[in-house]
Amino acid sequence: MANVPPIPKRISSIKFGLLSPKEIRKMSSTPIITADTYDDDGFPIDMGLMDTKLGVIDPGLRCKTCSGRAGECPGHFGHIELVAPVVHVGFNKVIRKLLRATCRKCSKILLEPAQKQHFLDQLIGIEEIGHMPDDLINEAYKEASKVKVCPYCNEEQLDIKFEKPTEYLENGEKLTPTEIRDRFENIPDEDIRVIGMDPKNARPEWMILTVLPVPPVTVRPSITLESGQRSEDDLTHKLVDIIRINQRFQENREAGAPQLIIEDLWELLQYHVTTFFDNSVSGIPPARHRSGRPLKTLSQRLKGKEGRFRGSLSGKRVNFSARTVISPDPNLSINEVGVPMPIARTLTMPAVVTPRNIEQLKIYVRNGEDVHPGANYVLRPDGRRIKVTNVNKDDLAEKLEFGWTVERQLKDGDIVLFNRQPSLHKMSIMAHSVKVLPNKTFRLNPAVCPPYNADFDGDEMNMHALQTEESRAEAKILMQVQENILSPRFGGPIIGGIHDHISGLFLLTRYEDHISANDAYDMLRKSDIRELPSPAGYDPDGKPYWTGKQIFSQILPKNLNAQFTAQVCSHCDTCKKEECPNDAYVVIRDGELIKGTIDEAAIGAFKGKVQDRIIKEIGPEAGARFIDNMTMLAVRAIMRTGLSFGIADEDIPKEARIQINEVLGKAEGAVQNLIKSYQNKELEPLPGRTLDETIEMSIMQKLGKARDETGNIADSHMGLENSAVIMARSGARGSILNLTQMAACVGQQAVRGERIRRGYAGRTLPHFEKGDLGSDAHGFVKASYKSGLNPTEYFFHAIGGREGLVDTAVRTSQSGYLQRRLVNALQDLEVQYDLTVRDTRGVLVQFKFGEDGINPTKSDFSKPDTIHRIVRSVVNREVA
């Protein structure tokens, strides 16, 4: 392996074990015997919880163990000798298992010698092949706990009951920790191995504590309040409790106190030690502060979202970032982000003072922190950092010299990163240029919602101000929105028109054919177009007018050519192309829209052919400009006609209603006939299906067909004058199915792809006879949303709807975890300059990226269309 570099340091194994009392004493720097912390002069008391042998946190003091100062001394453990042993909560389940698996008299594991040997042999085998022995160990536990009489001493085994969190009852009598410890001490080493413990590293009796390690003061530093009062860490408070009870216990025992009191104190000691480890165990109340706040003890520091692992180790926090709610602003470029003034005044960018910028930077410093754009800090070359205040701002501006750095506030044009979680693909973090705006939300062009998967129902996003020239350059070249319009996922644009953009341009390019000069200029006002082409015609009074197609053509690059079918295409058997009677074949020649309607297939996110062609043929800058102009034109176009949707849009004529009822009635009849033939055993089963499956499938099919038919009836009565139809057909929002469910018939409600069968014995609801196979008894909704559902229909609809919700909830968590595993496995792979894919050791994974070396971003919707297009443009005609 000459070229494969060795992995620098490899962890060959990690071993976990229990601390023995001996080890605890050995690693302890001092026993802790007094609950007091500081003396009257404020110095730590010897053998107290703040003993300087445990390490130091106050500057000026030296550690008595390592003689290091605060910061140098890592801290050292101490220990408390417990008067009586207590159970370690963390091991309560293991203790229970051990008690059940070993003899109450001789402590041997309750397995025949042969059985024991069998498990031991298997364990060794499993260890050799490096598998987890958990299953085997559980089996051994299970076998041993079944045995009722000890095979070694014939002692009858009693029932062990476990009461959370630390009580064990044998036939109703409490086992004291001392008794448990005695039993565990006698378990032979060999038997311990059978139950999966390594006797060298973890003797079971060590799970019953006789000595408690006291964590170093560096783990539980006290803080000095402004009043000069000391406030101790929660762990210290807990340790004080333990020591107090420990002392009282000892005094009472020495004084020969009654057994009842001793037991009470023992229980109390157990409680305090338990809550010291984990203050959220069920079965006991959590220990609280005087204020009523529960204490944060050891396991609370580690567990959960804000714990050490998720919150401190995996969680990364950064400076120069901001987070707030987002809202739309169609007048911003897709490359811009609107930044609220308070954020712009807080975040800064460092600027090194040079002869070229010194005057400008002086202005910023003079503006101070309150006047935007100002400066918040000035850095001197010696590393001193000076805050710009209203007092020193003029002074600092005068002192400014070459080589100093001014941390100036964010201003228009700065490059920042913008991010929305969950960051699932590279387009979840893109670079935008800042536009400082009033109010408190981030503003973005709605056309960039798809890559972030953002909407404005309260979504929040993060922004990061870049701090070096290199990062800003890199972000601008690689991460700017316009560089990410084309997705590497499918080789098409994922940024484009949404919702009203599509409706607007649909209305403009399909119906508008009489636009006055005034209106035309008004619609194009926000773009940089200031001239109109020759008009489409003249009114009788001599005034010129233009068509919507002409207006749209103005924002197209002059040399753009494209031909494709629009979304509204009804997929006729033979497409008449340019002659399409439906105006559904788009022809753009030399930047002019000759034929066709602009809709989702032309400018939509994920689908837009026009953005796609512009970016691939002219460039991302032209692409961004087109999307900017397109969104602004579309917004003005939709305001020209207006587009609204009301309940009346779901109206259908009376005859249609009658037709629909007829269809549904017939289907019902057909279903009844099917049921009859099924009951008469005349039904032929489908191949490979049982009779029951056959009848269900036939009914489903009949009803599905009926629903579709009602949809067609409703659809045929709603033309493109209906705004819901416009939105559905143009791809702006909603579907024809949504519409027909509103107007005609909602249809079958299903659970796991089957008709609804759950509910009462033999029927879904008490409204139906037992064994009723009819359509309405199993969730077929005859009504439309407009006409309203009857109570049983409504209930079935809720059942079907709930499944959808559960599905999405389950799917997101599952796909999230899948994504995480994939990313973890693939994150270090890299495409090299020779197009090979290699890992960090230089081992090849692919000899050519994707077997073909094609960059999917540059492909045409992942189809080999490029060659055809080149040939077409050279020979100037269609080629096969």
Partner: protein, 108 residues
């Protein structure tokens, strides 16, 4: 369910039990002697010669160990009789590239 019929092509679908016998008996090929390389979805595997291997290694300027691996116990390794240390050349059909070559070092 997969069934082997004459010609070594796999077809997928539900086959009625009565039809099954037809395929099994009159399939035209002795199923006990079938080679797994005959299957449509198994790409061509062949052991590379020393010279061929050398040119591949120099093309990517790598050592043998940097190649992807395949186990000797792998059914395909057994089928073509590869031993540890051999390099297997795999020629796959590709929708976009026509044919794509891949190399794997045989390991234990």
């Amino acid at each position: 369910m997969f069934f082997i019929i004459s010609g070594g092509k796999a077809i997928r679908g539900k086959i009625r039990p009565d039809k099954f016998f037809e395929y099994f008996i009159f399939g035209g090929k002795d199923l006990t002697k079938f080679s797994l390389l005959d299957h449509e979805s198994v790409p061509k595997h062949e052991i590379m010669s020393e010279g061929e291997l050398k040119s591949v290694l120099s093309k990517y300027s790598i050592e043998k160990e940097q190649l992807p691996k395949i186990k000797v116990q792998d059914p395909v390794s057994k089928e073509i009789g590869a031993v540890v240390g051999d390099v297997v050349k795999i020629t796959r059909k590709s929708q976009t590239a026509g044919e794509a070559e891949y190399y794997r070092l045989v390991i234990e």
